[in-house]
Symmetry: C2
Subunit: 355 residues, 2 copies
């Protein structure tokens, strides 16, 4: 997986020059965080940025490259769908923020899903997956769309049998899982390993958190407002969200979508009606339209809706603009992916079915 | 565009070690052809492989990287379609041999095209584009699917206006074309520049042509049969095809598809009925199903159909197997593409329309 070597090299370079004379931005671009525990100390005296309620995304190194490479192939594998045309990447497009920028995803036979597709970027920071949290982790999530008739419209047996009919996949699964037999659990496990690499470190705000002056005065004022108004109560941590479930309509009942029940579908508890997983705000600039119901394409409007329905406040235009300016500092380095080459089908491979 | 640097480096390495002790296959993988004129001399004495009617795909260096990089973004750009979901890569998937491995492509609203999508790999070696040759070159071809209601279902004005609404695209077009105004001609020109890089050098057969012993005895016998039986008359040159139009059904009228008229649609000449561009056979192993009508998924069957309908001969099973074995030596290095990151839409960008 060449891209990892590339990253490793650039990181080594960053180490080499970190006390040198290279421009600060270049150095910052190569900054390394050795793990979740190390948030990097402030390099600007007087500020305790390491104590902020938002943390920079750690740059991690995963050594299980065969598994990640297999997972990448599976993520882009259209034969996991009944039509042989839809892959994970169709709805979680890594070219466009890990989402499809549609109100809801287009699936098999051009059916539309009921809810906006969340980004796969940084999804490992979510406490659970899907808007209603019905999958406890990425591995459980990955199995869902393959068998959903409105999405990839295949089933687990068919998906596995297609992979099993292709000698290259048999070899890769055997290498990674020490087993001749491909299982849907291992398919999901490999996809998860790849998805866990899809983080977006080095946003300007993350660099600011690490002590570099990478945000403007009004962006910083936007962050101050984000905290002062209460947005931070739900949107915090590595992903600036993703770590709690909250009711949509705390301050005022949300009236734009009363059909989507949210977490109540999972818990069957009336108090979880209209409760959703708080979405990640990292890279939020890239993933319009917004909210589970895609009710707005405008980040400004989304901020105002949140203020009105969640916090019960009205923001001035200047306040909204500053919060939006802050949110745009949360866009990080997008994953650099070498597009995988997939092995051909064989005479034993089930043919795609577009119907 | 990191990938080009990568290629250049590996080529330099190949030069360095070409007289050294590295395994022959590694050396061969980095072989360089400086242009169409230079086919490489035979390094195995006694053979004049450079005079064979098939030529190895040249490894070319294109220095217009900003244009190629822009073209790559456009090739993967779903906003060129009405739905915001279908890109050039949807049907010419660079993960799967530059084609979609479907009988015919799925387009807007899940409509099916009338004919099998040809591969984009090595398409620059075609004398014209589309099965009926109705586009004289890649640039003309690229405009077609954008506006085809059964494919991307957009129109040129809309596609251009969407790009024009995104500042990053405006900047890239200005850099490449020295013009503030984006035009559909320039969109197609950039896509073409990218597509021209999508060649697949270093197939085992190409290496054999260059003098390396990279094919087995039976594969070579397959090539001898390919010439002796007459396949070579139409399938020759860099792409092993693509350089002439021929009637499907020379020796025997083709009776499996009498609806698709082929080149006759372009020339309005009765004698061009059932005449099609001869498809490229480079990478043929990767692009099932076969023929304009996708009438078979089996390469063996495809060879037998060609023998029967084009040459009027019946091949023994052994002969078919050997020809298929030869055809599988034509799979070259697939393009190594860093998946592009696309810029976000703005408030002025026309919203996708799935209907």
């Amino acid at each position: 997986m060449k891209i990892f070597k590339f990253t490793a090299i650039s990181c080594l370079l960053a180490f080499t020059v970190i006390n040198g004379v290279m421009p600060a931005f270049t150095i910052a671009g190569g900054l390394i965080d050795m793990g979740y525990g190390s948030r990097g100390g402030s390099m600007v005296s007087g500020l305790k940025r390491s104590e902020e309620p938002i943390q920079p995304i750690p740059i991690s190194f995963d050594d299980d490259r065969p598994k990640i490479e297999l997972g990448k192939k599976l993520f882009f594998e259209p034969r996991l769908s009944k039509s042989g045309w839809i892959s994970c990447n169709s709805c979680h497009n890594l070219s466009t923020g890990g989402a499809d920028n549609l109100p809801s995803s287009i699936g098999h036979k051009w059916l539309f899903g009921p809810i906006n597709s969340p980004t796969v970027l940084n999804a490992k920071f979510n406490l659970a997956q899907f808007w209603d949290g019905r999958a406890k982790d990425l591995k459980e999530q990955a199995k869902g769309p393959i068998a959903n008739p409105m999405e990839m419209a295949s089933n687990h047996e068919l998906a596995v049998s297609i992979l099993q009919s292709i000698p290259e996949y048999m070899g890769w699964f055997k290498e990674v899982y020490k087993d001749e037999k491909i299982t849907i659990d291992n398919v999901a496990d490999a996809i998860t390993a790849f998805e866990e690499t899809l983080t977006t470190p080095n946003s300007r705000f993350d660099l600011w958190l690490r002590g570099y002056d990478r945000i403007s005065q009004s962006e910083q004022e936007g962050y101050d407002l984000f905290k002062a108004k209460g947005c931070i109560n739900c949107h915090n941590g590595f992903g600036v969200g993703g770590n709690s479930f909250q009711k949509f309509g705390i301050a005022k009942p949300y009236d734009k979508d009363t059909q989507t029940l949210g977490r109540c579908n999972v818990t069957k508890n009336e108090k979880d009606k209209y409760v959703f997983k708080v979405p990640l705000l990292k890279n939020i600039e890239l993933t319009a339209p917004y909210f589970h119901d895609a009710s707005t394409w405008s980040l400004s409007e989304a901020v105002n809706i949140m203020a009105e329905y969640q916090l019960g406040v009205t923001l001035s235009r200047d306040e909204t603009n500053k919060i939006v300016a802050f949110l745009k500092t949360l866009t990080g380095d997008q994953p650099s992916i070498i597009f995988p080459i997939l092995p051909p089908s064989t005479a034993n491979t089930q043919k795609p079915d577009r119907n």
